[in-house]
Assembly symmetry: D2
C-alpha cells in the first residue's frame, strides 16, 4: 500500500509561526523532539487516522525574500529559542521546502505589509480574479510536483485591517462579478481563502483577518465540499481569559474591570503597532469577555511592539472583581510565552484535523475546532473547557 | 402554611468565616446586599426549593469568649472589610444569635488551639462519648428553643493536625466501644461530625481536618440518612489551580514545576503557622495537581502567617512549563482575596444544598458539591469545570 | 508671644489630594493619626522651625460645588480609605474650611475640566488679567479674614494639556501687555501661578501643568522674593523608576526596554483619559529615564481610567535588561498605592518647607525640593537618593 | 616594557559563577562581547590602572571532576544561556585553564558538598594546617608556572553551614596552635582564606560562608599586607532591597512586612536546600532590612530548589507598607535573573580592584567594595546608593 502524502501550504510561510511549524514538522518526522504542545498527540486522539509528521510536505506564499531556514535562524538569534543542533539537523528539510515558496498575493496590499515585501517576483495583480488564479496555480503546481493526496491551506500571515463586509460579500452570486473588476471586494486574506476553497483545499485562518468568514465564502465551501477552520489562534492571554472568566461566572463573583496589556517584539507586533491592523486584533480579544460573563465589565486591551522581547509575548492582566458584601479583590497574572512555539503545534493539530475532515467528507465550518480560536467560526461558546468537550465528542461521540 | 425555619450551627462560629457568614445572612435577609458570591443565587438554581436567608437562625460552638458582633468588628478593623453602616444595621441579629453560642469541645484539644480558648465554661470531657453527648445536647437545645425544622452543622473551626486513621475508624462496630474510653479514637473534628450525624443533622466540613471522612462515620451517615459534604473549601489559589492545570493538560503543555506561596494574617494563618496543622493544609493543596495533570511535576506550597495582611490572603504562583521543541515558558499569578468573604457565601450555598438534600431523602456524601472543595469527598474529579457540571446535572438532570 | 498662623490655599481643593490634605491636617492637629508618610516628620528635620499642623487654616479654589467633607466621604465610599470615625472627628474642621472655598478661574478652561464645573458662581473672565485679579482678591480676603501670617498656594488641580511657550512667556516685559488682551498668554495653571507670585505667596505646583515654569514667571518670583516648587509630584511608578534606574546604571546593566502601565479610577484618571491632558503626564513620566541611564531605551508609558479602582493607582512595570554576555533578564513590579494618600503628606511637607523658605528670605526655585517631583524645577538630577541628599544638605549644610 | 600578568584563582572553579567568569574573561580578552555588567567598565573607572581581561590566567580548586568547558556547556544546556558559537570560540582558553585546576580541600567537608565530590585525587587532610599547606602549594605552583605578577583568590564555592566563632578565632595567637590539631578551628572557607592571606594573595569571599571574617584572619591580613573583600555577592533580590528600603525610609512610609521567596535550580540552590547551608544565606539576606529602615518589620525569606529553573533565580517580593492616615499599600516585584551571569562580571570587578589595591599597598578590609556585598565587611551601610558613593570616592577622592 502506498503511504498517504499531504501538503501544508502556509500563507506567510517565513513568519515566526510558519517557519516554526516547518521546523517542528521536520523535527517530529525525524524523531528529534517529543510532541509536547500538540493536542492531537494526547492519548484520547490515538484512535484517529491522522497524518504522521513524516507524511507532510511544506510549501507556501510569502512576500519577503527569506527561506524557512533563514527565518528559523533569525528567530533563534533574536528570541533565544530552539536548540542550534536541532536547526542544523533539520536544515536540509527546510531548504528543500523553501524551494516550494512562491511570492505572495499583491492585490492592493496593506501599506504596512507592502513595505516589508522584497521579493523581486512580487508583482501586482489587476483584479481579485487575477490574484486568485495565480494563487491556485501555485498551489496546484505544488500538489502535482510533490504528488500530494491532499493539501491544506493555512493563513499564517500578518493581521490586516478590519474589513467591513457590504452587500457584495453576502452571496456568491453577488461576489463573483465583482472579482473581475478592480474592486476591493475581498481583502487579501479573502483572496487566499477564495482561491483555496474554490480549488478544493481545506482553509484554516490563524489570524483575526477576515479569511473565509464571509457568507459568500462559506457558501462556496459548502458547494465545493471543503472544511473551514478559524479564526485567530488562541495561544496566550485570551486562552487564560477563556478559563478564568468562567470561574468568576460560576462562583458568581462580579468582574468589575479586566485590563490586559500585551507587549511583544516580533513582526506580528510590528504590524499590530499600526492602529488599523491592531483594531482587528483588539476586537477579537475583547469580545469574548461579555460572552463568558453574561455582562460586559469595563475592559481594556493593549498591544505594544517592544523590540527587545522578540517573539516572547508578555501579557499582564489585572482583574478587579467584587465578592460578597461588596468586597473588591484582585487577580493579576503575567504570561511569558513564546508566540511561535505556542502556535506551531496547534497549526499541525488543525491541519491534521482538517485533512481528516476532508477525507471523511465533512465540509463547511468545523465547529469542533472552536477550542483553538479566539473567534471560533460558527460557535458562540468561548469557555475553553466546554469548547474542548466539543472536540472530545467529535473524537468519541459515545463519550 | 407555616414557613420553614432552619438552623445553621457553626463550629468555630466567631472565626472569620463563621462571623462573616452570620453577617451575610443578616444582610441578605434584610435586603441590604446583593447575593454576589453565592453560587445558588445564579439563575440556573432558581427552580430549587432552597431556604431563603430570612429562614435561617444561627448558633454554634466556639472556644473563645467572643460574640459574632465583636468578631465582625475586629475583622472590619484589622482587614478593612465590610461597610461600618452594614455592621450597625445587622448588629441586633448578630447579638441575638450570639446568645445561641456554646463552649466548644474540650476533649484533648490541639495545644495551639487550646491556647486560644478563653471561655470560662470551656471544660474538659473525660471520653469522646462525653464530648459527643455535650455537643448533641447543645444543638438539640438550639433546635428546640428556636423551633427549627432542620439544622445543618458546619465545621468552620481552625485546621487540626493530620489524623492518621487506624483500625478503630474502619467500621462503626469497632469505633463505638472506643468512644467510651479515654482514647484518641476521633480527632476533635470527628467528635463534632459523629455528634451531628448521629443526631440526624447534615454535616459540612469546610476545613482539611478529618471531620466525617472516616469509614465508620460514613457508615453512620448512611445509617442515619444524613447528607455529608466536604472537605477543605476551595476559595483561592487551589481554585485557580483547578482551572489552570486542566488548561495545560488539554494543550499538552508539560508543567515542569508549580510553586505556590501563600501569605495571610488571620487566625487561620496563625494556626497554620504550627507545622502540625500546616501539614494537613499543604497536603490538601498539593494532591490535586497530579490528578489534574496525569503526572506529578515538582511542586512546592508554602503558607506563612504575615500579621499585617489580616484576612487578605495573597498567593503568588509560579508555573514553569515546557511547550513545543522544548521551549520553557512561565505563567505567574498573584491572587489577593479576602478569605472570609470568599468562603462565607459558599457556606450558605452548601448549607442550603445540604438542607435540600436532607428534605429529598438523600444521604451520605453529596458528590455534586465537589466544586466547592479542595479534597471533595467521594469524587476524584478536580477539574473545576467538570465538577461544576456535576452540580448542574444535579440541578437539572435533563441538561 | 502670639503663635504663627499660616494658610494653605489649594487650587482644586475638593479633589482627592486637596481634600485628603485637609483631612490629614485636621487629624494631625487633633493628634488622631501618626505622621506616617510625612518626610518632614523624620528625625533629621527636627531642628527646623516648621509650622505645626495646628497652625494651618485651609482655603482654596474649586470649579465644582463640593465641600471638603463631601469630597472626603466620596473618597471613603469609592476607594475604601480612611476610618469612618476619623472623618467624623474631623468633620467640623472640614466644614469650617469649606466656607473658605471660592469658584475656580474660568478663563478659557480646558473642555474636559469645564464639563466638570458646576458652581453657579463659576463665571468667565474676559482677560488673563481679570482672572488674576479675581484669584488675588480671593486669597487676600482669606488671609485677612483668618489673620494669617503667610499663605502658600498649591496647585492640586487636574492636569491640563501641554502648553507650548512662545515669545510672550520669555520675559515679564513681553508677558505683561498680553495679560490685558483676550489671549492665550497663560494656561490656567499659569494664571494661578502669576496671581500667587505677584501677590507674594509661595507657589507650589503638584501637577505636570505649566504652573510657574515659564521664564516670565520665574523672573516675577525673583522680583517679588517668592519661593517656587514643582513640578508633578513623584508618588508611585516614577518614584520607583528614580531608585531602580540608577541601580541598573551603576551595575552597568543595559536597560533594553521599560514599559509602564498605570491604571486608576479617580477624577485625575478621568481627566487624563483625554489624550491632550494625558500627553503632559506621559511626557513628564518618560523624560527622566534617559537622564538616569545616560541613554534612552525603548520605553512606553500608558495611563488608563479604570473606574472600579477609584483612587487606587496600580502600576505594572516591565523592565527588560541585558547583563553579561548578552543575557536578557527581567524585573517586573506592581505598585498598588492610593494616590491621594501618597500625595497628601508630601503636600504638607512642601508647604511647610516653602513657608520656612519664605521666612528665611529665599526666593525663586527651591532646588532642594527636587526629591518630591517628577520634573523638578531647576535641577537635572533625577536619582532619588541624590535628590534626597540635596534636601539633607539644606537641612544640615555641615553634613 | 613587559606587560603585567595576573592570576584569578577560583575556589569552586567549575560552579556556575566560576566557569561563567572564566568564559567571560576569555570572551572579553578576545573582544567577542561588550563589557555589559562590569562596573569597572563604566567611564568613571577609566582612569584606574586596572588589569585588562587579556592579562588574566585562570586556575582554581574544585571537588568535582569537571572542566571549565564542560561546566559552561552544562550551563548552556540546562539554563539556555550563552551563545553556542561564543563557547566554541573560547573553548581553547577554557581547556587550557582547566589544566590549572586542583582538587579542593578535603578537611571535614560538609556532607552535602562531600556527596558532590568525585575527583579521584580528592583526599582527606589530617589537620587544618595540612589542608592549608596543600592549598598554598597549589596556588604557588600556579603562579610560578604561569609567571604571574599577582594572584587573587576568590571563594566561589557553595555556601557552608553557619560557623559559630569561639575563642580560638579571636586572635592569631590563639588560632595558630589549633591548626596543627585535628580540630574544627576553621570551616572550609576559612582554610582557603588563611592559606591565601598567609601566602600574600588578596582574598575575596563571594559567599555567605565565614571566609576571612574572623578576627584572627583579619589580623593575619594586616600582618601580611593583604587586601580582603566580602561577603555574599549582592546580585538580585537583596540588591533590590538595598535600593527600595531606603526609598520607603526617606518617604517615611512604614514597612509592615517584607516577604521574599526565591526559587532557583542550580547547584547553589541544591546546596541551599539543606537547612544548615540555607541558614547562612537567609541570615545574610534578612539582616539588612533592619539596618536600612531603622526598625525591623516582620520579614520572611525563603529559598527553594526548583530544578526546572536551572540558573534562573526568580524572586517574588511582597512589601506591605503603611502610608498616611493608616492606609495599607503594596509593592510586589518579580526578579528573573540568571545568577551566574549577574555574578561573573562582579567577580572580575572585585578581582581587578583587589589586585589594584595590593599594588597600591592597601591591606585589610576594602570598605569601598561594600556595594558588591550583602554583608559587607567593615561597613554598616547597606543603602546601595551610599555604598556606591564609597566606591566613587575611592576612585576620585576629589569628587
Amino acid at each position: 500500500m502506498v503511504e498517504r502524502r499531504v501538503g501544508l501550504w502556509l500563507i506567510g510561510a517565513c513568519g515566526g509561526v510558519g517557519s516554526t511549524t516547518a521546523l517542528g514538522l521536520a523535527a517530529l518526522a525525524r524523531g528529534l523532539t517529543p510532541p509536547t504542545g500538540l493536542v492531537t498527540a494526547l492519548p484520547r486522539f490515538g484512535g484517529l487516522d491522522l497524518d504522521r509528521p513524516a507524511a507532510f510536505v511544506v510549501g507556501g506564499h510569502d512576500i519577503r525574500q527569506a527561506s524557512l531556514l533563514s527565518a528559523v535562524r533569525e528567530l533563534h538569534g533574536r528570541s533565544n529559542v530552539f536548540d542550534a543542533r536541532l536547526i542544523e539537523a533539520c536544515a536540509g528539510d527546510l531548504e528543500a521546502w523553501s524551494a516550494n515558496l512562491r511570492p505572495g498575493v499583491a492585490y492592493r496590499p496593506n501599506p504596512v505589509l507592502a513595505a516589508l515585501a522584497d521579493r523581486p517576483d512580487f508583482r501586482p495583480a489587476a483584479t481579485p480574479r487575477a490574484a486568485i488564479d495565480q494563487v491556485q496555480r501555485d498551489i496546484r503546481a505544488f500538489q502535482a510536483a510533490a504528488k500530494l493526496d491532499q493539501v491544506v491551506v493555512v493563513n499564517a500571515a500578518s493581521t490586516e485591517p478590519v474589513f467591513e463586509a457590504g452587500d457584495e460579500q453576502q452571496s456568491l452570486a453577488r461576489l463573483l462579478p465583482a472579482l473581475d473588476l478592480p474592486t476591493a471586494a475581498l481583502p487579501t486574506s479573502g483572496i487566499y481563502a477564495f482561491a483555496a476553497i474554490d480549488a478544493g483545499f481545506p482553509f484554516v485562518n490563524l489570524t483575526p483577518s477576515r479569511g473565509a468568514s464571509l457568507p459568500a465564502l462559506e457558501e462556496l465551501a459548502l458547494m465545493r465540499g471543503v472544511p473551514l477552520a478559524g479564526q485567530d489562534l488562541k495561544t496566550g492571554e485570551t486562552l487564560l481569559k477563556s478559563v478564568l472568566a468562567p470561574m468568576f461566572a460560576r462562583r458568581n463573583l462580579r468582574v468589575l474591570s479586566w485590563v490586559g496589556h500585551n507587549i511583544l517584539g516580533n513582526r506580528d507586533g510590528l504590524v499590530l503597532n499600526d492602529p488599523a491592523n491592531k483594531a482587528s486584533k483588539v476586537q477579537s480579544k475583547e469580545a469574548l469577555l461579555g460572552e463568558l460573563l453574561g455582562y460586559r465589565p469595563q475592559s481594556h486591551v493593549s498591544i505594544e511592539y517592544i523590540e527587545s522581547l522578540g517573539d516572547w509575548k508578555t501579557a499582564w492582566d489585572h482583574v478587579h472583581f467584587e465578592g460578597f458584601l461588596g468586597t473588591k479583590m484582585t487577580l493579576q497574572f503575567t504570561w511569558q510565552g513564546c508566540d511561535s512555539l505556542l502556535a506551531a503545534p496547534l497549526v499541525l493539530d488543525i491541519a491534521r484535523l482538517a485533512l481528516l475532515a476532508q477525507r471523511r467528507g465533512e465540509s463547511g465550518v468545523m465547529a469542533h475546532l472552536a477550542c483553538f480560536f479566539k473567534s471560533p467560526l460558527g460557535v458562540n461558546e468561548h469557555d475553553f473547557g466546554r469548547q474542548f468537550e466539543l472536540l472530545e465528542r467529535y473524537v468519541d461521540p459515545s463519550a
